[in-house]
Symmetry: C2
Subunit: 254 residues, 2 copies
């Protein structure tokens, strides 16, 4: 068979994995999917993912590409892979992509959702799905603060210290906080939705941690532009835990 480029969309629960990226001594989502592809095709393929999610981070639509010479019809990969994947990783769709398509390098942007809830006691049902914040939060101030991240900014203050990225300028198309009642346990969920042309390491989690500090009264919405201008990680809030973060969508031109 001639080589074909396959594009997968995957949903996974990141709780049990050491993140997306292959590691020698830890179970990662990339490893598990690569092993499943090998089981089907007997090929050692290189699996490329659009977003390198950290340990505990979830994905609703991670985009993955790989090149195979297998005769398996592209559309059949989803069901075939699901039959050899654990039930916390699901391939939602599989299609043939153009030869030039690369899940990572063709990506034009991504969207993420971060879910929190504010209650005295944690929730058993949501324990690996959302961040439990027990201090009372002022949601109106958090909503105002979230809007200040939209647009084009240098996000150095919201990048994990030690990152080697030189150009930290990114454009966020959406940065919005909303409240929705959970149908799983009735608690009001605090949802931060963000979409942009690119994200720095830990950027969404640092923005979320900063929004929570606004909610707690440690920072004001007006402080956000000042923190952005400072280009200093120490000025922003703490990094929110991974379990509340979901990679929602990856944008492509095609």
């Amino acid at each position: 068979m001639p080589a074909r480029n396959i594009r997968l969309t995957a949903e996974y629960d990141g709780t049990e994995y050491h993140g997306w990226q292959s590691q020698t001594n830890a179970v990662t989502v990339q490893n598990v999917i690569a092993n499943a592809v090998k089981r089907l095709t007997t090929e050692d393929v290189v699996i490329t993912g659009a977003g390198r999610t950290d340990a505990g981070v979830h994905a609703l639509a991670q985009t993955i590409s790989f090149i195979t010479s297998s005769g398996i019809p592209p559309e059949s990969f989803a069901a075939a892979l699901n039959s050899c994947l654990p039930d916390d990783i699901i391939i939602k769709s599989s299609v043939e992509a153009e030869a030039s398509f690369n899940a990572r390098f063709s990506a034009r942007g991504k969207s993420y959702r971060y879910i929190m809830y504010n209650s005295l006691q944690p929730s058993a049902i949501l324990r690996n799905r959302a961040w439990h914040v027990k201090y009372p939060l002022n949601l109106d101030l958090m909503k105002k603060a979230a809007l200040n991240f939209a647009g084009t900014h240098d996000f150095t203050s919201f990048m994990a210290s030690g990152s080697k990225i030189k150009d930290a300028v990114r454009t966020l198309y959406e940065s919005e906080l909303s409240i929705v009642e959970s149908c799983l346990n009735g608690l009001p969920l605090i949802i931060y939705d963000v979409a942009g042309n690119g994200f720095l390491y830990n950027m969404v989690r640092i923005i979320t941690g900063t929004l929570v500090e606004v909610g707690m009264g440690k920072l004001l919405p007006e402080d956000i532009p000042v923190i952005l201008d400072a280009r200093n990680r120490k000025r922003a809030g703490k990094t929110a835990p991974p379990k509340g973060l979901y990679l929602c969508e990856v944008f492509y031109d095609v």
Copy 2:
């Protein structure tokens, strides 16, 4: 200390437990909570739960009572128990109850929620939280059928065969199907909410399984009264799996 009656409200994720009820060779929610109480009070207390949830069934507000001579203030049990419970069982509140209060026998009714979703592929995020139905469902017909369960009926057709209950007449105050978008993965969730003065063994799961057969076109909404009249388990649909079921609330006079 004089004996005191303590009332707890607990949320749990039933995935890892062999149900509520104590068993000798299996880990149950009742066992785990009784062990935590013993660790705190050094007493072997009898823990009574309002609803004996099956393996895999969740609870948002299971009500529990037990009598203790411990000097621990009633309101402090919640935090103290949470410090020795696993994170899939959370005590939401603890209060002192009247001496006559019994979580099971004082209960006047309960409400349950059953969550399903309808999609070609299952969801990794919702895999232990909701029932995945892959056949296309007609939701309007399911909504109509759900309303037919409200009121006072003999629910023999909706009771697990082999049950020894003689009087299967129960009153449902609410029996309603609605559609809500999941904020965890964006899928439309099909939610069946039911409240009543009592429930037979597997009753909510058999009603839900029957609603899904209506959605699939195997039964009509008008068949529900006929199935109720038949007083025959074989006339109703299959029992829906436990993972979509949540014990939501237990009603008491006080």
